[in-house]
């Protein structure tokens, strides 16, 4: 690079310094790019893939039939499940004759690709808008059915709506 000797005005430094100070002063009144995170949140993209949710139907029965397609589709092998047969007095709990007695997703293995959602024939699993879980133990990242199941739509309608998020509304548009 060619280096020219400074002209007299340049060697005074001051004009350049004042120009710079004017710029920084103007920036003080600019709109801030930062979002106050826990209070404000950026809007999600319509295809955002967060933590998984196990869906229920309108009466609050679990959709999942433990077919295992999600576990097969999962490239990270994060999903494990055990199937069980529904007994006659459990008809209000599970929608079909077979259900998942145990359903676990290892959130440390999961890559949030959404293939499980695409594989599911019963619309039982989908990725929500919840994200950024934090914990001190590895074990707590293996989510069982308690953590994955969406709140009951009849008993806890508000929590159900919150867990559902704005996703369905956006997908309809």
């Amino acid at each position: 690079m060619e280096q020219k000797p400074m002209s007299f005005m340049e060697s005074l430094y001051l004009p350049a310094i004042f120009k710079g100070m004017a710029i920084t002063f103007k920036h003080m009144f600019r709109k801030k790019a930062t979002i106050n995170y826990p209070e404000e949140k950026r809007p999600f993209s319509p295809i955002f893939r967060g933590l998984h949710v196990l869906n229920r139907d309108e009466e609050g029965r679990e959709n999942c039939t433990a077919c295992g397609l999600c576990a097969v589709a999962c490239p990270a092998e994060a999903i494990t499940m055990e199937a069980a047969e529904r007994t006659p007095n459990e008809e209000h709990l599970y929608r079909e004759e077979k259900y998942a007695a145990k359903y676990e997703i290892n959130m440390l293995r999961c890559i949030f690709c959404g293939l499980c959602e695409e594989a599911c024939p019963k619309d039982a699993i989908y990725l929500s808008e919840t994200f950024a879980p934090s914990s001190f133990t590895r074990k707590s990242f293996i989510y069982s059915k308690d953590e994955l199941l969406i709140p009951h739509p009849v008993n806890e309608p508000e929590k159900f709506e919150a867990a559902k998020g704005a996703r369905e509304a956006r997908q309809k548009n």
Binding site: I17, G20, T24, M28, R30
Partner: protein
């Protein structure tokens, strides 16, 4: 002992209270200057700055202080223990000492007693300021040397040579001011400015040189070579932790506050309220209220200079070491000398 008894005990009490007030005030202001620094830096970079601790993040400096207190105190084995502890203490003490000669207001009346709002009205006020400011280099030098760390030592040597070279230009720039005022007492200088106009009108070049030198003395950007993070890791306080580090970082802000006060006093009329006749004000409102307003005026000027300190820091990159020395020795000193000669000639012309 007889001296102590013949002295006015009330005067001693009064001075103690004043010293306590000035020092605690300086510390609180320095504390919130750290907050202002972070906030303004954030705004200038289109960020928000600390806003979590308390409303608007106002408790942030308290949280920082508490954090520093609870950090582990480490004294390296290879260091010189005595000097290692002495360094930050010296830095802090010299930072506070200068506040003794600054007049914070005219006087207030407490229980029929006239209390002068200046800790010590010494007739060599400016010389005292210079003496104490040049002591400030010992805090850096001793701290850097006692750490027994090459980076610390390098930074300390840089700092020492920088402060010594800029002190020259600083002194020279003030000589022209002193030729005009004819007094070294800061109180007299302020009173002259209250009756006439501010010294900045007569000495703009002197002020420019002075403010540049003050930036160098305070180790503020663009002259923050002693603590150049990316060149010397952390500078002379690299080996320090806990509150000793806190004292070093804090003394910088105390220094900023005090030198802002010195600049306001010397060039911007000190506690003079612009366009207001203070003696008429004192006649109608009483001395206490007037003193309060005078102090507010001084404090507003100080706040402005603190803002300039911060503003410059977040605008200008650091000087290279040779550029720093060039600026100090080849530009500022000749300029200050020329300013001195011009002032002398003009004064002689006016006199005749």
């Amino acid at each position: 002992m007889t001296l102590l008894f013949t002295m006015d005990l009330l005067l001693v009490l009064e001075k103690f209270l004043l010293i306590g007030a000035v020092i605690s005030f300086a510390l609180v202001v320095a504390m919130y200057t750290t907050y202002a620094e972070r906030k303004i830096a954030a705004w200038m970079q289109d960020r928000r700055g600390p806003n979590r601790a308390g409303p608007l993040g106002l408790l942030q400096p308290v949280a920082d202080g508490v954090k520093l207190f609870f950090k582990e105190e480490i004294i390296p084995i290879a260091s010189n223990r005595f000097l290692f502890v002495l360094g930050p203490a010296l830095a802090m003490i010299t930072a506070m000492l200068t506040s003794a000669v600054i007049p914070w207001g005219e006087y207030i009346e407490v229980l029929g007693r006239k209390v002068n709002l200046q800790i010590a009205d010494v007739n060599i006020g400016i010389l005292y300021v210079f003496g104490v400011v040049s002591m400030g280099v010992y805090g850096i030098m001793i701290g850097g040397w006692a750490s027994n760390n090459k980076f610390s030592l390098l930074a300390a040597v840089r700092g020492a040579s920088q402060i010594i070279s800029y002190e020259l230009a600083m002194g020279l720039s003030l000589i022209s001011l002193l030729m005009m005022t004819g007094s070294l007492s800061l109180k007299t200088i302020v009173e002259q400015q209250m009756n006439g106009s501010w010294n900045i009108v007569y000495q703009p070049l002197g002020f420019l040189i002075f403010i540049i030198c003050v930036f160098a003395e305070c180790n503020r950007t663009p002259f923050d070579l002693p603590e150049a993070e990316n060149e010397l890791n952390f500078g002379y306080h690299q080996e320090y932790s806990s509150m000793k580090l806190g004292l070093y970082l804090f003394s910088e802000y105390v220094n900023m506050f005090i030198s802002s006060a010195v600049m306001a006093t010397l060039f911007f009329g000190g506690y003079d309220i612009p366009f207001v006749d203070e003696s008429a004000l004192a006649a109608s409102w009483g001395p206490n209220l007037t003193a309060l307003f005078c102090f507010m005026a001084l404090f507003a000027k100080v706040l402005f200079f603190l803002f300039v300190f911060i503003w410059v820091r977040w605008t200008i990159p650091r000087f290279r070491y040779d550029q720093l020395m060039d600026l100090g020795w080849k530009k500022l000193i000749p300029l200050a000398l020329a300013n001195m000669i011009i002032t002398a000639v003009v004064m002689l012309l006016i006199k005749n």
